[in-house]
Symmetry: C2
Subunit: 406 residues, 2 copies
């Protein structure tokens, strides 16, 4: 008898009709002889509606209270799902993150899990009940309700799967799995049967939205096998797990792109020790998430430094950049929000030195200019003009013959 | 420094605009030098919307899950109110019924409070925080979320006021207080400055909807002074408290009416010991709330027996009545749902034997037939035709000179 943790996102439980369908899927999993623990997100736009009400009251709502407010969304979804499963004749009971033993630090709005004590739900599972748990929320060491931040429900699911020693954690969403590229840009993109944790991490960091970075990290650390699949059909999804011995590693898994970032260039930065540290300390202190950083070689004791950061952080960036320029003795800064990042990810590229050259060639053949480059052992990312994104993804996808059936 | 518990109903927090106004009122109470604990209901139609979603899934949703579902409504209201108060520059924190120490039995949907352990909110109050508590919900001795049933938020407020030793419990609603009659029927009806717990209990049982019976009972048992008042203006409301020594007791407080009940008559009931007990045991076992019971004198060993019960219970009544007729050897039963009950309530009538006669005279002068009569030491109720309700209430109100300024 296997123990399966299933997580359903907001679209999957977007209406009572959808909740009934999810209930059916959960019941089928149980009837196939599995113990099932289900983690749910809030229904459809519930979280946005709750956020909007808070914003009507104040632009800066109290963080502790926001966590109490937003967790109402998952509470509604979990109890409705339990009602639907009970109505279908199976025993099911729902539990809040707190009741399920998700213990976090006190960082409201982006709490970190410090412990998982699943005793209560383990007992319910042992007694033959289907267990439903509210994703996203937990209880702090100060006994307050907390939330795990963006993608929190995925993290709840993975954390419970790890603590319960589940055989698999299935992440149900509105796409069929992880693809070799965004199918809206590359219609022939192939669904990947399997990727490693590392590849998934690089893809998530490179703009693939199917799984949140944090939950993949958690899964990798605890060795929880994930499957990403659709709640709208019965197609097998994509396994995310450790590299398997003896399995030939695909050279390249896929092409990811991200147009949610802007490029910031600091001009004429004095080229001396400690300047970069000071600049990025200032920026980090302001809570801006810096992604790629590139520094060119210096001329006459001065250099240019560029980085990318989420466009969402731009309003905050203006203030801190003025300070950065003054502190560092730089000339000025420029912001360019017409960029995109295209990334090639593949665990197999470690041992293939020609991959970067092939990727640059694919872009060059399309006449696409590369503005920044950053690499890891299993990823190469290039910043290009935003308008070139689709052509870039298609060219790279074709260059590496990632199409289905190839 | 006084400790005031304020309770705001669903209409009072029906929108973010209303929540902002309630926040203003709470802050003014605190700035006047009081400690404030606020109990809130769910916003406007939230509870109905949640119920409707559950009904879309199944006509008989699981009771434990319904309690988790419905308490989401109060959770949203409490956190939004705390957000609004924090935004107004005052420290406020919200707590679920469970966090506030409302311990109940395990009767989901209509749990009874078995203990109140307000240590956590007492501490918050002592530290100078305004405390917001979700009404209606608690936590059972089995650690599950429970709800207190209809009027549960009033009960939460009174229970916390009792446990905290509050100086007063203010129940904010959409009317100005308790009136000598329904102002929609008697425009000259007078707002009562004060009624006793007993009068309030009789009025609530007689159809006055301003306070739930149960919360008044709780307040009386623990001696919590209640004030019923409007959240839409600053008018003083009505105090509900113990009779005060040396205060001249008004003869009559008011006229209440109730058209939510139907009359059931059981015809030709064998007049022998144990029959009535069997009949009303059968009915009670089916969960039907019987109100007035009248049995006429018997002729030829048979009698007729009538009782009133909520129209809402009629669907369930048909089945049980068939059983009752068979069990008791009666001839048949008749249901009349065109009735209303008018009641005269006043602590002073104990010592004035002529009150009943005056009331019957008022009805007779209007040509209104009395079908059933029931009395307590401070109340007289008559069942009449539903169509006569307004005229009956007006005639009695005039007979006892209850108009404002009289």
């Amino acid at each position: 008898m296997a123990l399966i943790v299933q997580k359903y996102g907001g679209t999957s439980v977007g209406s009572t009709e959808r909740i009934r369908e999810v209930a059916g899927r959960v019941v089928r999993t149980a009837e196939a002889g599995n113990s099932v623990v289900v983690v749910v997100s809030a229904m459809g736009r519930t979280t946005d509606d709750l956020l909007a009400m808070a914003q009507e009251l104040t632009p800066l709502p109290n963080a502790r209270e926001m966590d109490l407010l937003l967790t109402a969304g998952e509470r509604i979804a979990m109890s409705l799902l339990a009602i639907a499963i009970n109505a279908a004749g199976h025993r099911a009971a729902s539990y809040t993150g707190s009741q399920a033993g998700i213990i976090t630090d006190t960082e409201h709005g982006k709490a970190k899990i410090v412990d998982v004590r699943p005793g209560r739900i383990q007992q319910a599972v042992d007694e033959g009940s289907i267990v439903i748990v509210a994703g996203f929320g937990g209880v702090s060491t100060a006994y307050d309700v907390t939330t795990l931040g963006r993608g929190g429900s995925d993290t709840t699911a993975v954390a419970l799967a790890a603590a319960l020693g589940a055989d698999a954690c299935e992440i149900y969403t509105d796409v069929d799995g992880v693809f070799s590229a965004d199918p809206r840009i590359v219609p022939a993109a192939r669904k990947l049967p399997q990727v490693t944790y590392e590849e998934m991490l690089e893809m998530a960091a490179s703009g693939a939205k199917v799984l949140q970075l944090r939950s993949v990290e958690y899964a990798r650390r605890h060795g929880v096998p994930l499957m990403v699949r659709s709640s709208f059909n019965d197609t097998e999804g994509t396994w995310v797990k450790d590299e398997e011995e003896g399995m030939e590693q695909a050279l390249i898994s896929g092409v990811a792109h991200d147009d949610s970032e802007a490029k910031v260039t600091i001009v004429d930065v004095p080229d001396k020790p400690g300047v970069a540290a000071r600049i990025f300390r200032d920026i980090a202190d302001d809570g801006v998430n810096v992604d790629m950083i590139v520094q060119n070689v210096s001329h006459d004791g001065q250099t240019d430094m560029s980085f990318t950061a989420p466009k969402a952080d731009l309003p905050r960036l203006g203030e801190v950049m003025a300070r950065v320029i003054a502190d560092s003795g730089s000339a000025r800064y420029e912001i360019d929000d017409n960029i995109a990042k295209v990334s090639l990810v593949g665990a197999g590229m470690k041992s293939h030195p020609g991959v970067a050259a092939d990727m640059f060639e694919a872009l060059a053949d399309e006449g696409i200019n590369i503005e920044m480059i950053s690499t890891s052992s299993i990823r190469i990312s290039c910043v290009i003009r935003a308008a070139d994104t689709a052509r870039a993804v298609q060219a790279i996808h074709a260059k590496f013959k990632l199409n289905g059936g190839s």
